[in-house]
Amino acid sequence: MNKHKLLGGLLILVVVLVTVWVIGCASNKTLVTEKSGAQLWGENCVRCHNAPSPPAFNDYQWETIAIHMRVRASLTDEEVQKIVEFLKMAN
């Protein structure tokens, strides 16, 4: 039990440290307000699933899906507004 708790903790710690280091080296400091809806769509949707195809839903459906994702995935209000605008423009 303790051995596996330790192993699990260490495994996750190593993954965390390596990823923080790798991404930290490559990351920029662009604020959400400076990003386009297309960029936010590409960055945020793929955190759980493939980026959705804009024509998959109409404008009204995207608005409902946006609220759902804001609740479910804790996207920020700013991100949701921009992503929906992009999807409505691109569908």
Binding site: M1, H4, K5, L7, G8, G9, L11, I12, V15, V16, T19, V20, V22, I23, G24, S27, N28, K29, T30, L31, V32, E43, N44, V46, R47, C48, H49, N50, A51, P52, S53, A56, Y60, Q61, E63, T64, I65, I67, H68, R70, V71, R72, A73, S74, L75, T76, D77, E78, E79
Partner: protein, 399 residues
């Protein structure tokens, strides 16, 4: 004569223009009527969900499986009010079952705060809330310790929650604080072999105590590529008016999500990991092997998984673009000394082919073993993931 002819031409033109303008206005009015018919009101309903089916071959059995689907009902009452509900319609033991996965109402209080009430997916780590749908989970099976019947930590519960997300400079945070019925302790009164287990489907609270918990997520980089999360939940879990009523439980989880495009590999790397553990206060239970006696054990359980995928989405070949390689290692460690205790480990690999962004066929192999299984875990093998190697082919469909 010429003057009369000119007047006739002018009048004729005027009449033609008048009629054509009148026709245009009628056309516009007609289109406006049609558009109005199509425009939805403020109340909007959307049916989404997912389905899956496939074939599984274990060492002792093989069968077509699935044929299940999970409709998700979204009802948007206004810009601030949302109802979400999910059913699971499945075939189990020769009959069709319908389960309520969740049903809750959300109200957006302000830009940073949402209140939610009902049965909702618990943000205890990331698997249950974000990764479990079949078309999102990159492997056909759930990690050990994250499936029905052998889960370490809650998946869904009844209660109330406040949650939200906010930018923090170039970084981001998200949070959730909730109050739910909480897990219940199996004290062994009905089945002594299960004494000490926590049950998370506690829909009619077994005591007056409520569990309090939450998750805090931090996305340090502007690209949102990395998310680190910590979750905790505290509750008294024993049945009211029994010697177990003061028995408490503490649940903790750490999670990680990394999604990064690697230009040199022309693809996307996705790493997900979660470590969950439960600690239950010491208590004495009826010994299933000697019913006249009691016994105790250190009631600590843990489960973790690390999952990695690579999708060569940016290569020129359109067939290879749609491939995805996935691998996962998971471990489930149940309380040593308990009748249901033991350990399982599992490696799982999958080659996936995406038919579109939400439809995937998974060709997977997994191997599950249980060190020391002869003593305990293997006896309860039928309750969880079967041991040994297994081939699984699943077709998952998001809609």
């Amino acid at each position: 004569m010429k003057r009369n002819a000119l007047w006739m031409v002018v009048v004729g033109l005027w009449l033609v223009m008048g009629f054509s303008q009148n026709g245009l206005a009628q056309d516009v009015a007609s289109v406006q009527q049609e558009v109005k018919k199509l425009k939805p009101g403020l109340s909007r309903f959307l049916l989404r969900g997912y389905a899956h089916s496939g074939f599984e071959r274990y060492e002792k059995e093989n069968s077509f499986v699935g044929g299940s689907f999970n409709p998700i009902f979204l009802w948007q009452q206004s810009d601030r009010l949302l109802f979400e509900g999910e059913l699971e319609v499945a075939l189990e033991h020769g009959s069709t079952t319908i389960g309520l996965e969740y049903a809750n109402m959300s109200y957006i209080l302000n830009k940073r705060m949402i209140i939610r009430v009902g049965k909702f997916l618990i943000p205890f780590g990331i698997f249950a809330e974000r990764l479990h749908p079949r078309w999102i989970n990159r492997l056909p099976s759930n990690p050990l310790g994250f499936d029905h019947g052998e889960q370490v930590g809650p998946a869904a519960a009844l209660g109330a929650e406040i949650r939200g997300g906010a930018p923090l400079g170039a970084s981001k945070i998200n949070y959730s604080i909730y109050l739910i019925n909480g897990p219940s302790l199996n004290d062994g009164s009905e089945n002594p072999e299960e004494a000490g287990m926590l049950h998370f489907d506690n829909y009619e609270d077994n005591n007056t105590n409520k569990a309090i918990g939450g998750r805090f997520g931090f996305l340090p980089f502007s690209s949102s590529a990395l998310e680190l999360g910590v979750s905790a939940q505290f509750a008294k879990v024993g049945n009211e008016n029994t010697i177990y009523q003061d028995v408490g439980a503490r649940l903790f989880a750490l999670d990680l999500s990394l999604v990064k495009t690697i230009p040199s590999l022309k693809g996307i790397v996705d790493v997900k990991a979660q470590y969950s553990m439960t600690q239950v206060d010491d208590a004495r239970y009826v010994d299933p092997e000697n019913p006249g006696q009691t016994y105790t054990f250190k009631n600590e359980n843990a489960a973790y998984f690390v999952r990695g995928t690579f999708k060569p989405a940016f290569v020129a070949n359109t067939f290879i673009q749609k491939l995805e390689f996935a691998g996962r290692y998971s471990v489930l460690t149940l309380a040593e000394g308990a009748a249901w205790g033991g350990e399982k480990r599992q490696w799982a690999f999958s080659l996936n082919y995406w038919l579109d962004w939400r439809t995937v066929v998974k060709f997977s192999y997994q191997y599950t073993d249980a060190p020391g299984a002869e003593e305990a875990a293997v006896e309860h093998e039928e309750e969880g993931t079967p041991l040994g190697g297994a081939f699984l082919i699943h077709w998952s469909f998001g809609f």
